[in-house]
Amino acid sequence: MLLIHCPYCEEDRSELEFRWAGEAHIARPENIAAITDEEFAEYFFLRNNEKGLTYERWRHIHGCGRFFNAARDTVSDRFLMTYKAGLPKQPIPTAEETAAIAEEKTVETWEATEGDAR
């Protein structure tokens, strides 16, 4: 079970309570009636879909109901951090901090401790 930290509930909760809500930090153009079709398409339809570190919106829909932002590695599916909606893009934790988080969250699986893959 993947646990996601909700910054409003201040607790790790099961991924079952959450919904993904697209890329984060996409600002709506202030002069949206004046921009060209290409600029509108860029804002409205086009997403970076990056491999690796991405900033995403998530919603704790079966919990507090709040949207929040998360930095997630799309390769390892590891959440590097979560923070409240409305905050500017937060700096990613350093490698040592990430390692510390990983250390803390490592779950001993049967495969790792008992299985042939040891």
Binding site: C9, R13, E17, H62, G63, G65, R66
Partner: protein, 190 residues
């Protein structure tokens, strides 16, 4: 041929009962409920009008005079009033009397509740709920909106071995069924 035109309202789970040797399942009596949304600056006014201090700490609830306020989100509460014999509009009226800006929706008939009690109550709920229900993480009085199998519930711990499961009425049949399965498993794994 008297009273043919008088409809009596039946609870969605009226007559349901179940459980196992360690878990007891029963339908809760009717209660009045409102879904309440209040901004932080108006919480005090609503608390005064409702007679319960709305909790502002995540996963907590507060009770007074038969009314319980459950924290659901930073500006969202579920109020349950079990003091009356029938379902009136006391909570809606009290919220209105506060004079403060708020949103209140009467959900008395949208929700129904299942009372889960017994030494295996937490195990029965964990059959479909991913939350840690140990006393350390989920003490008496703790509450949370969460997921139970395929449906959303609001869970409230009323005692060390008793929970109130608030569920939408159209999902209540499913919730009761899954709780019955969980209750049976809890007794087996004892």
């Amino acid at each position: 041929m008297a009273d043919l035109g008088t409809a009596t309202r039946a609870l969605p789970l009226a007559g349901f009962h179940g459980g196992s040797s360690t878990v007891r399942l029963e339908a809760a009596p009717p209660a009045e409920r409102i879904s309440l949304r209040v901004r932080a600056e108006d919480v005090a006014a609503l608390s005064g009008a409702l007679g319960v201090d709305l909790p502002v700490k995540p996963k907590t609830s507060a009770s007074a005079n038969g009314r319980t306020a459950l924290w659901l989100g930073p500006d969202e509460w579920l109020m349950i009033d079990e003091s009356g014999t029938g379902i009136g509009n006391g909570l809606m009226q009290a919220a209105q009397n506060s004079g403060a800006l708020h949103s209140a929706a009467d959900v008395s008939h949208r929700n129904t509740a299942i009372l889960v009690s017994g030494t295996g109550a937490d195990k029965a709920i964990n059959a479909g709920c991913p939350q840690d229900l140990s006393l350390k993480e989920f003490p008496v009085g703790a509450c949370s909106r969460t997921i139970f199998g395929k449906v959303e519930i609001v869970l409230l711990r009323t005692a060390e071995d008793a929970f109130r499961v608030e569920v939408w009425r159209s999902f209540s049949d499913y919730a009761f069924g899954l709780l019955s399965e969980g209750a049976r498993d809890a007794a087996v794994g004892k």
